[in-house]
Amino acid sequence: MKETDLKATSPQESPQPTGPLSVGRKGNLDIKINGTRGWMSFLGIVIIVSGAFTALATLLTGLMSVWLPGTSPGFWAWVLIVSGFIICAVAVFFGVLLLQSSSHAKKYLSQDSETELLKYHVKMRIFFQVTGIITIIGLSMGLILIMAFSGR
């Protein structure tokens, strides 16, 4: 991971000083991170596998439409195939991000490394940020499609 990813880019200083984390609170934090970690790995694996299945289905559909005798893929078939691969790539990316977050959490818990704790938070930020951006893109595309088809 780049050093710039770990360093906060905001030059704005915190208005109040950061409070210390006592032993009891750290134990509490560790229990919560440990509880999150397992489900995060599970979700990451499920997302990657579903992405792989989507890619396989898209590939089979594409191959069938290209090579089956008497059929030729039209414009919308290609759009469908390309969208399938994009969806698969995004799913794999999400899955990898979740697995990386989980891995950083595991390293933090086993090595008690502060850097790993920070990396865990950075990965979580990237995960939610990318999810938000994908949601905005999806909503915009949905709106464009509704407008395009309602005009017909």
């Binding site: 905001s10 409070g19 984390l21 006592s22 934090l29 999150t36 599970f42 938070h121 979580m124």
Partner: protein
Amino acid sequence: MQTDQVSSTISIQTLDEIRKVLRKTWGWLAFLAVISIGQAVFSIVFLFIRPQGGILAILIELASSALGIALAVFLFQASQRAKRYAESGTADELTAYHGKLKIYFTLTGLLVLISLVVAVLMGLIGTFTGYRG
């Protein structure tokens, strides 16, 4: 403040960095929560305007929307905790943020697990009845 007299187990510098990261995270969490709530409310309203399928399908749709809202509420609470930690730097807010995230991921994981089990069962039942038919 009572916490000022306690020595920190994680360096203040790292906690400061985490605070800065959370300052950039909470907005996205809140956005995703609001979108999820909007989506669930929209599907409930749509269900009442134009109900599709039988009573079982409607009940399943309502249950999934209610679960979606519950998940979104936990996500929103996490965002508010992250925001408060970014503003105040109180350790309690950081643990509360992780607590809400834990509930969110646990519920999501359980839902995915249940839906996977249901899908496999439906597939098996479909195959079994298919062979009999």
